[in-house]
Amino acid sequence: MKRLLICLPVKGNMVRSNLFVIVLILISLSAPAVAREPVSYARDIRPILAAACFRCHGADEDARKGELRLDSQSSAHSLRDVSAAIVPGLAAKSLLFQRITAGDESVRMPPADETRQLTAGEIALLRRWIAEGGSYQGHWAFEKPRRSPLPHVQQRQWVRNPVDHFVLARLESSQLRSSPEADRRTLVRRLTLDLTGLPPTPQEVERFISDSRPDAYEQLVSRLLASPAYGERIALEWLDAARYADTHGYHEDYHREMWPWRDWVIGALNSNMPFDQFTVEQVAGDLLPDATAAQVVATGFNRNHGVTASGISEEYRVEYVLDRVRTTSTVWLGLTMQCAQCHEHKYDPITQRDFYRFFAYFNNITDRGVENRQGNVDPLVPVTSPLMDRKLLVFEKQIRTAEKQKADEAASAAPRQATWEKEQLAAGADQPVLPGGLLLHLPLDAGDGNDVIDRVSEKPVGVITGSVVRDTGHIGGALVLDGKTYLDLGDRLGFERTDAFSYGAWFYRGGDSGAIIARMDDASNYRGWDLYLAGGHAEFHMIHQWRANAIHAKSTMPVPTGKWTHLFVTYDGTSKAGGFKLYYDGVAQQVNITQDSLSETIHTDKPLHVGRRNPSGYLAGRIDDVRVYRGALSPAAVATLAGSNPVSMILKLAAGDRSEAQKKELRQYYLENVDPPYRERAARLTALKTQRAELSTQAAAQTVMVMQEMKDRRSTFLLKRGQYDQHGDEVAAGTPAFLHPLAEEASPDRLGLARWIMDPANPLTSRVTVNRIWQMLFGTGLVASSGDFGTQGELPTHPELLDWLACEFVDSGWDVKRLVRLLVTSATYRQDSAMSLQAWEKDPANSLLGRGSRFRMSAEAIRDNALAVSGLLVSRTGGPSVKPYQPDGLWLETSNRPYVQDSGSKLYRRSLYVYWKRSAPPPNLFAIDAPTRETCTVRRQRTNTPLMALVLLNDPVFVEAARKLAERALAEGAGDVDAAISEMFFRATARRPDPQEMAILGDIYQQQLAIYTANPEAAGQLLAVGESPRDVSLDTAMHAAMAMVANTILNLDETITRE
C-alpha cells in the first residue's frame, strides 16, 4: 500500500485555525473491505483508537495526556477552546483529525517515537467515520446480546437449523458457497471424536453407514452425548481452563491430589448439570445453603492454582488471589482483568478499583501463602472415592478367605503336631522348646573377647565401640554398658513397618534411660524403631517422622532394679500400636500409647545398635542374650525365652494328664511358632490386614483442596502498582461498574459473585461460553480470541449468530448438551471439509464457514485414538492420575525426584488422567501443544513440528499401539495381509484404503517383511516394546512388518486429523 500525504499548513496556531487546509490523497492498492458499508465504531474505529490513542487518551487518568479523553463520546465531542476532538460531520474541524494529519512532526499524533503509528487506510477510515457523524457505540461484547430474527437466505433447502441461517446469509452476501454434507463415515468419525475424544469402532461406523432411519444422525448424537466418554472429553477443555495439575507448580513442585475435583467435573458434565449450577458450585459451592460434600469439592476449581514452598507468605497468598481473579475473569467473562492489577486498564473500562473489588471476593480464604510440604494444603476436605470403596470390599473378601484357610490349617494340624511332639521328646524334653525364626542372637559371652558373635550365623557381626568390659550375665557372660559403650551391628535387620518381628534381651539396670536395641536416625526425625528405657520405664517406638507419623507406647511399670529382667517386644507388622506387646520376664505389660499414627516408611540407612540410638540414647547397665526373631512371637514363646519353659513342661506330661488349658497352650504354641502351613497362612492374613489398614488410612486421608471463608473477614486494599505490600485505600467486594449491576439482595461474597456471573443480564458469560464450545467443535471460535472479549480482542466473525446462540443458551436453562446438539446437528457443522481452490482463495482461514473445519486433534485425542484403535485403551472413568511411559531421567535432570512409572492397566488410561507435573509436563503430550497448566489456558496452540513427528513415530505408547493394532488385524484377517492392512486403516480412519493407498501400504509391508525375515532378532526387539504381552502364535517377521504398517497408519495425517 502506498500512501501520499500532503499537508499544507498555514501560519498561526494550527489547532485553532479554521482555515487549515488538508489535501489528503490516498492511493491504495487494496481498498478497505468496508468501502460501501457505513463505518462502524465498534468494528472499525475503536480498534484503531484503542491501539494508537487510548494509552494516553483513555480511561487511565494517571496516564492521560493533554486532558484529552477519546474513549467516550461525551468527552470526545465536548468543546475544547473553539473546537472539539471530534466535530460530527466535519473531519477538517475536528482536532483529532487535525492532529493525526499534521505536517509538523512536533504536533502530529501519535508522537513520532510511538511504535504504533496510523496507516493511511486508518486515517481515511477515521475521516469517514467523523464525516458520518463520529458517533460512539459501546463495545459490542459489553452490550447485552440480542436475539435477532433469522436472516433471510436463498438456498433454504440447505438450512437445517437456525445456526445455518446466519452462516448461509453471510456466505451468500459474500458470494461464497456452502459445501455439501460430508459422507457418512466422515461424519461418524468427526462426531465421535468431537463428542467423546475417541474414534468410533468399526461396528459403530458400519452401523451408522447402514442406518437408514431418517434421524440416524440425531440418534448418533444422542448416543454419544450419553456416553461416559463425553464428560471426559469436555472435561479436558475445562482442565486447561482451570489450570488443573497434579503438582504445586512453584519451587520444588511438590505432589498434590486434586483428582477428586476432576472426577466432580467429569460427573457434572456427564449428568449435564446446567452451566449456571456448574458455575455457582465451582465458584462458591461452599457458600450454598446446606452445601453438599460434592458442592464443596467443586470449589477446588479455584484451588488449582500453583502453591509455593518457598518465598514470602503474604506475597504468594496475594499471588494466589490474583490467579483466581485472572482465571475466573478469563474463563467466564473473557476479560483480561489482570491489566488493571497495577493501573487502570488501558483499553477496557476496568479501573484498578474494580479490579481489587473483584479481588476482594477471593481474598477471604483460609489458605496460607508458603506451604512447604507435599500433598494437599489447607483448606481441604476429605473425600470418599467409589474406587477406594470397591478396593476395600475386595480386601474384606480376601481377608475372610484367608481367615478360613488359617482355620482350616489349624484344624488339620493335629497329626503334624503329634509328629513334632515326638521329635521334641526324642530330642530331650528337658530342653526349653525355643521358637523358630531366630534372626540374630548375641550371647555376649566373655569368650568372645572384643568380637560380637552372632550364634545364628556363627560369625562376628559387629564391633564394640568404647571400653570392652565383660561381667557375669544372666546366661554366661554379659557386656557392661558404661553410658559410653555401645554395639555397632552395621546395616542389619532393615525392617519395614509392615514386617512382623520380635526383639529383646536380658537387662540389668544401671541407669534410667537409653536404648536397649535401636535402629534409628535421630537426624531424620528419629526414623526407625527401638526398645528404649525412659525414666526407668521400658518403651518402644516405630517412627517415620516423630511425632506426626509414629508409634510410641510406654510401660506403666518401671523396669525392676537390682536384678536381671528379660525385656522383650513382639510386633505383628500392622503399623498400629496395638500390634506391639511388651514383656517383662515373659509377662505382658500394660502400656500407655501416646502416638499411633504411623503410615510411612521406617527405613533408615543408619546402623543397628545395642546400647544407644544414633547418636543419642546411651545406656548404662549390663546386657545379655540379645535376640531378634522374624514374626511376632506368641506369649508362650516369650515366656520360654524368659526361662519359665512352659511348653517343655506340658510336653513332658502324658497327653491324658494335660489340662484343657495346657492342651490349648501347646496347640497355640505349636501353630504360631512351628507349623509351617499355618504360619504361612497366618502371615498372609497379616499382610492382607495390613494392606487393608493402609487403604483405609489412605481412603480416610484422601482429601481435595477447596475454598473456605475466613470467619473474620480479611480487609482488602487496593494494591499500589499491584505490589502485595503496598496498601492503598480499603475496598469492598464488588463487580466492575461498567457491567450489569449486582442484584440488590446479592450477598457480598463469592456466592453473590457467582450469581452475578450467571445473571442473564451479564453480556459476557453466555457469549464467552458459547464461543468456547463453538471453538471446541469448529477449531476456532466465532471470536478467535476466546480468552479476550475486551476491546483488544478479535471481533466476532458472525456477531448475530454468537448473540443468537448466547440467548438460546440462557433461555434453555444453560443446557450444555442441548447447545452441543444444536451446533453439531447444523448443516454448517456437517459440511465436507475438502476445500476448492476458489474457496481457498476467498477464505483461506474458513472464517465464513463455507466448508467443514479440518484440524489436527489434540495431543490427548491423538494418544487416546492410538490406544483405542489398538485395543489397549482402559476406559475406566475417574480416579487418581497415572504415570505412563516416559523417557528415563527426565524429572531428575531438572528436579530432585525420579519419575516412577506405573505399570499394567494404568499405562493405558485416557490421557486426561496422565500425571501432570507442571515443571515437567508429560513430554509426549507437551510436544503436541499441551500446555504446562501453570496458568489458565482457554485456547491451545496447534503447531506442526518435527518433534511431534518423532513422538508419533517412536514413543513406546505409539509403538506398542502399532504392535497391538497389527496383532488384532492379523487375527481378524485370519492371516490375510491385505485384509489386515485394510482393517487397520479402517480402524484408524473409519474408511477403507483405496487401491492406490492399498498398494503403497502393501509395499511398505513387503519391504518391512524382507527386513524382518532377514533379521528376526530385530523383529523380536520391535515386538518387545511396551508392557502388554504379545501374541507369540503370530509369525515374528510378519507381525513386526505389520506393526510397521500400523506405525505408518497411526502417523497418517488423516489419522491424527479430525476432518
Binding site: S310, S313, G790, T791, N944, A949, Q1007, L1052
Partner: protein, 482 residues
C-alpha cells in the same frame, strides 16, 4: 476431483500471483494453523531485524541457583577487617529477606575466603576459582551492577528468562525463535542443554517454563538436548527399527499423505510432510551433532577432561559451539547447583571447577574459529548472594542467602566490548552505587545485539502488545556495546 487439487506445486507455480501474502507464507512452510495473524514459523518476522545486528546468535551459559558475586567477580577487600560484624542498617536499608534468614538474630559479615587477582590488559579482578575465565578477561565485559526485585529462585529465574515473575510468558529464546526464525531448517532455533553441578548436587529444580513459548506458537519453545541414547526426546527409532526400514516406511507415509493433500486441499498436510522429512533428517544429523568423537584432542585439552563426559557443562559447551556452527539461534545451557546457603567455600570451588575452564574455552574456541564476533555469549544466574552469613559463620566456612540487589554477569562476543567492567557496588557488595543494570536492561541489550528493538518485538495477547522486557522502561547498556 482434480479441480479441487490444491497441491503445493500447483498453487506456487500457477496461482501465486492471485494469493494473499498470508496464504503464501502458510504454504511456504508455516507450521501454525488457525486464524492468528502472527502464527508463522521458520522464516521469522519480515520486519526483523529492526537494524543491523552485531550478533547472529546467543549462547547463554545460565548458572542456576544464584552464584555468589562476592566470591567470584566482585572483590570486597575492606570486608576482611569486618569479619563477623553485623551488617549495618544503613546498608541493609530494610531490604526484605528470604524466609531462610529473615528470622536470623544477626547478620554477620562474611568476607570471601577466595583470593582475588587481576587479569589481562584490562586488569579485571577475579576470584582464584576462575583462573581460566581470567585468561579471557580482555574478551569479556563484566557487569557488577545487575539487579532484580526477586529474592527467591522460582520467581527470579522465571523473571530473568521470561521478563516477568508471573507464569505463562514466553522465554527469551522463544521470542528470538519467533522473531528471527531459524538459520538452519533442520534444527530448532532454540536449544536447551542441562548439566548438574558437582559442587552442590541436587540443587534448585528447573522448570519447563524457563524455555517455554508461553503464548507464542508452541513451535518456538526451547528443545532440550540430552546426553545419552536420545539427544532429543523420542529421536531414536524403537528397538528393532533400523534407519533403512524407517526411511522406507517414511517414504510410504509421505506418499500417502500427499494423496491425502491432493484430495482434501488442506495445505497444512504439506507442512506435515515437510516436518516428517525434517524429523528423519534430525534422526541422522542430531546424533552426529552430539557425537564429539570427531573433535580433536586439542579441543578436549582446551575444554578440559570433563568435556569427554557426556552431559557435563564442559561437554555441553562444546555442543553449544557445534550448534552455533550450525546456525542455531539461541543456545541456552543451564548448570544447576549454585545455591550456596551453607558450606559455600567448598561447594563454590566444585561449581567453578565444573564451569571455569569450559566457559573460557568456549570464548577462545569461538574466537579461533572466527565466530566470536557474531556470537553473543552471556554468563550469569538469577541473582547474587548476601554479604552476611546464613547460619554459623566460622573462619573457614560460611553460607550466603539469596540477594537480588546486585550480582555479576558477564557478556562477550558479537557486539560487546571486551575488557570492560561495568557498574559498582558498595563496600559490602550489597547495593549498586554506579550504573545499575536491571535484568530488563540486560535482556534489552541482548535483543539489541541481535538487531531487535525490544519495544518493537511484540505479540498481542490478553489485550496487550506483550514484549520480553515488559511494560517498564528498559535501557541499553551503551557502555559495553561495541
Amino acid at each position: 476431483m482434480p479441480d479441487r487439487a490444491i497441491t503445493r506445486r500447483y498453487l506456487l507455480g500457477q496461482t501465486a500471483g492471485c494469493l494473499g501474502a498470508a496464504a503464501l507464507a502458510q504454504l511456504a512452510g508455516s507450521a501454525a494453523l488457525g486464524r492468528d495473524r502472527r502464527d508463522r514459523s521458520a522464516p521469522g518476522l519480515p520486519e526483523l531485524p529492526h537494524f543491523a545486528p552485531t550478533a547472529k546468535r546467543v549462547i547463554y551459559l545460565f548458572q542456576s541457583g544464584g552464584p555468589s558475586h562476592l566470591d567470584l567477580y566482585d572483590p570486597k577487600p575492606k570486608l576482611a577487617d569486618l569479619f563477623g560484624s553485623d551488617l549495618p542498617d544503613s546498608i541493609r536499608q530494610g531490604q526484605r529477606l528470604t524466609e531462610m534468614t529473615h528470622k536470623q538474630k544477626s547478620f554477620p559479615v562474611a568476607p570471601s575466603l577466595m583470593k582475588f587477582q587481576q587479569h589481562g590488559q584490562c586488569g579485571a579482578w577475579l576470584s582464584e576459582t576462575l583462573p581460566h575465565i581470567g585468561s579471557v578477561a580482555d574478551e569479556i565485559a563484566i557487569i557488577r551492577s545487575t539487579h532484580t526485585e526477586a529474592i527467591n529462585h522460582d520467581p527470579a529465574i522465571t523473571y530473568i528468562n521470561t521478563g516477568t515473575q508471573q507464569l505463562g510468558k514466553p522465554s527469551m529464546g522463544s521470542w528470538l525463535s519467533y522473531g528471527l526464525g531459524s538459520e538452519n531448517e533442520d534444527l530448532p532455533a532454540y536449544i536447551v542443554l542441562i548439566s548438574q553441578g558437582t559442587g552442590r548436587p541436587g540443587g534448585q529444580p528447573l522448570f519447563s517454563r524457563l524455555w517455554s513459548s508461553g503464548f507464542l506458537p508452541s513451535n518456538h519453545q526451547g528443545v532440550r538436548f540430552r546426553s545419552g541414547r536420545d539427544p532429543v526426546l523420542y529421536l531414536g527409532n524403537p528397538p528393532g527399527v533400523e534407519g533403512d526400514g524407517r526411511r522406507k516406511m517414511l517414504e510410504g507415509l509421505g506418499r500417502l499423505n500427499t494423496i491425502k493433500a491432493e484430495r482434501s486441499g488442506d495445505p497444512e498436510i504439506h507442512t506435515r510432510i515437510a516436518q516428517y522429512e525434517m524429523a528423519f533428517r534430525m534422526q541422522s544429523s542430531v546424533p552426529d551433532l552430539v557425537n564429539l568423537s570427531d573433535e580433536s584432542e586439542g579441543v578436549f585439552e582446551l575444554y578440559g577432561e570433563n568435556a569427554r563426559k557426556p552431559g557435563t557443562f564442559a561437554a555441553n559447551c562444546i555442543l553449544a559451539r557445534r550448534l552455533a556452527e550450525r546456525g542455531v539461534r539461541f543456545i541456552q545451557l543451564f548448570h544447576r547447583g549454585w545455591d550456596q546457603h551453607g558450606n559455600l567455600p567448598a561447594q563454590i570451588r566444585g561449581q567453578c571447577a565444573d564451569v571455569d575452564q569450559a566457559s573460557a574455552a568456549l570464548i577462545k574456541d569461538l574466537k579461533a574459529r572466527g565466530m566470536l564476533d557474531e556470537t553473543l555469549v552471556v554468563w550469569g544466574g538469577e541473582f547474587g548472594r548476601t554479604v552476611y552469613a546464613q547460619g554459623t559463620l566460622t573462619k573457614d566456612n560460611y553460607g550466603r542467602d539469596h540477594h537480588g540487589r546486585c550480582f555479576s554477569v558477564w557478556m562477550a562476543g558479537g557486539g560487546i566490548k571486551g575488557g570492560v567492567q561495568l557498574g559498582k557496588t558498595d563496600d559490602y557488595g550489597y547495593n549498586v552505587v554506579e550504573d545499575a543494570v536491571h535484568i530488563r536492561d540486560l535482556n534489552a541489550t541482548i535483543l539489541h545485539c541481535l538487531g531487535i528493538d525490544h519495544e518493537r518485538l511484540t505479540y498481542p495477547y490478553q489485550g496487550l502488545e506483550q514484549r520480553l522486557t515488559g511494560v517498564e522502561q528498559a535501557r541499553l547498556l551503551e557502555k559495553i556495546i561495541a
